[in-house]
Amino acid sequence: MNVPTLAEMTSRGETPEVVFWVGCAGSFDDRYKRVTRSFVSILNAVGIKFAVLGTEETCTGDPARRAGNELLFQMQAMNNIQVLNGYGVKKIVTACPHCFNTLKNEYPELGGNYEVIHHSVFLQQLIESGQIKMTEGGSFKGKKITYHDSCFLGRANNIYEAPRAVLEALDADLVEMKRCRTTGLCCGAGGAQMFKEPEAGRKDINVERTEEALGTGATTIAVACPFCMTMMSDGVKNKEREAEVKVKDIAELIAEAQGLR
């Protein structure tokens, strides 16, 4: 697959329109690597001149900061900012709301100022500008899809409509859970919970949320975050419904509808 790195592009004297920040989950998590490849296939199909950092990318530091290790966060942040500023990066797109939030809201104070876009907004723009053409009555027509809001996209950054606009372009039947948008229930992974066992309680948060998603009767649970992806997929497995209910990232759904990969 054609994935230019920023180093290669720079050495050819070229500048990308946008840098795709892949994130750790997008790079290493087997499930989310498929999302990364789907998003790249869309970028290539549309003809966006993009580049990735490849092995020069490192963790933004988000989980360290939320867990309380500010020193480690800032070490990561400073190193990443040095790399990004070294290349003169102006615009970044990422499929991870946690990377998005950190790059957009927390790097400026440390000297990293970029236009940062989440892939849900990027895809919405491509659809609205007609660069992605959706055919009516596609393979999703009439299928029930429910969207699970990522906290770091929604409440943290007020992005509620872009992912829904992307899903609506699929001509699918978008059904909402009772707790959605500003009152959307967390998948349970934020605040570095992804990296530890939950505290003792009655129930796991992802199971509570998955039950709500399954309650809508949707056959696809759409997500826009790698941690939500893991938590909701685990929830569906916990409920033994993985045969008929799929958890998909919005980029995968668009790529599928476009017949890519």
């Binding site: 490849g54 943290a156 919970q193 992804m194 505290e199």
Partner: protein
């Protein structure tokens, strides 16, 4: 004359007790790190007008919002009448504004009475919701005896105060017929319905009842004003500064620690030589109230324990110990305990206790997903998440006491530049599969 002296003495006592309390609360809030920012005043003013004055966030739950609105408007408007009470009390007059306002005075009194009835009914509804319908968020485990009693005292007091106004106006209207001291108000719609109860009483009894209700109402209001400073009801005042000084960045933004920035810059050799040496860092994160931002401390005093935060908290919903409301209540309790100790000449902050561990446990803060549901839910823009994250910083950086899986995650980031144990050289392999 005796009445005037008694009134002045009562008023002075109330002013004394309130100002002593206010000064204590101010000192408590001042224990924190000064984080009162006044940048972007238009945005802050807008937040205050919409959220505190306009109660925008209350309207996510329509029925309680309407009832609360009645009490709020009633409180603000009826206090205009209290102004007349105070002037009358000092000057020994009765309804001093009546001759100046003429027929309009009666209109005003009718508006006040309508609001008094609305407040009364709303408080009855709220008492039913709390004690008979037992709305879940009022019965969670941090809602121990005192917080539940506090709420009921407030509602009960407001009902009694409103009844006093109506009794006073009813007897006043009867007295207007015979006593020229009682200025004509015209017919007062609600209280005139109570007139048949008092109609047959002799004038001396009516005078006694009217005076008693007047005194009861004004002493009640002053006593309530003192009580409010000890109660969760303080939100009626602090909601305004709390919304004004609330965070204006996107909710996902976490406060930076400039002390750490200096340290990191030195470690990476990025610090220019001319920069001033960094100040003594003090404590990283927060162990006690004096490590917290003063805005968080003000938030604790602004909290009226409605529990909308806890009702939305995913950790709490699934049975974990964390309750964002308890975080705010504990912070306030700690401040109050420190103040009590200091007032007695005691050790204050050095009493051997700290907010973390003695009030809030690690189990609670470790359960937080930083999802911002509590922050979004708060009708007066209190931010429990900020306190949780500051406490976590202390645990991680000063105690190295984070859960062991978080320590492994830290180690992975340090060595592999990813929170999982993967080799950094494999980071780009996804493109080759």
């Amino acid at each position: 004359m005796i009445q005037q002296i008694a009134f002045i003495a009562t008023l002075a006592a109330a002013v004394y007790f309130i100002s002593r309390r206010v000064s204590g609360i101010r000192k408590n809030i001042g224990l924190g790190k000064n984080t009162f920012r006044t940048d972007q005043p238009q945005v802050r003013l807008r937040n205050m007008m919409l959220v505190a004055f306009g109660q925008k966030k209350m309207f996510k739950k329509f029925i309680p919002a309407i009832l609360h609105l009645f009490i709020y408007v009633g409180f603000v408007v009826i206090n205009l009448e209290v102004l007349e009470f105070v002037i009358d009390g000092l000057a020994g007059t009765h309804r001093i504004f009546a001759p100046y306002l003429g027929g309009f005075y009666g209109v005003l009194m009718n508006i006040f009475e309508f609001l008094a009835v609305a407040v009364l009914l709303s408080c009855v509804f709220f008492l039913i919701r709390r004690n008979i319908l037992k709305v879940k968020r009022f019965w969670m485990y941090e809602m121990t005896k005192w917080p539940r009693l506090d709420a009921n005292i407030i509602l009960f007091t407001e009902i009694v105060l409103m009844l006093a106004i109506l009794t006073m106006n009813a007897t006043d209207q009867i007295l207007q017929q015979s006593d020229p001291h009682y200025a004509a108000t015209g017919k007062l719609y609600f209280s005139s319905m109570l007139m048949p109860i008092f109609d047959s009483l002799p004038v001396s009894t009516l005078l006694f009842i009217e005076r008693f209700a007047w005194w009861f109402h004004i002493i009640g209001i002053l006593a309530f004003a003192v009580y409010v400073t000890y109660s969760k009801h303080l939100h009626i005042f602090l909601a305004f500064p709390n919304t004004y000084f609330a965070k204006i960045e996107p909710k996902g933004h976490m406060n930076n620690m400039p002390v750490v920035t200096n340290e990191v810059k030195m470690m990476l050799g990025l610090q220019d030589a001319t920069a001033a040496p960094p100040a003594e860092p003090g404590r990283f994160g927060a162990k006690d109230i004096n490590d917290l931002p003063s805005t968080s401390l003000m938030g604790a005093y602004s909290c009226t324990e409605c529990g909308r935060c806890t009702a939305e908290c995913p950790a709490n919903l699934t049975g974990k110990k964390l309750s964002p409301r308890k975080i705010m209540m504990d912070t306030r309790d700690r401040m109050e305990d420190v103040r009590k100790s200091l007032d007695k000449g005691g050790p204050g902050l050095q009493d051997g206790k700290t907010l973390l561990n003695d009030y809030i446990t690690k189990e609670e803060i470790n359960a937080c997903t930083s999802c911002n549901a509590c922050v979004e839910a708060c009708p007066v823009l209190i931010n429990p998440l900020e306190i949780i994250l500051e406490l976590r910083r202390y645990v991680s950086m000063e105690e190295s006491g984070a859960p062991s899986s978080w320590n492994s995650m830290y180690q992975n980031i340090e060595t592999n530049f990813a929170p999982w144990k993967f080799s950094p050289s494999d980071r780009f392999n996804w493109s080759k599969d």
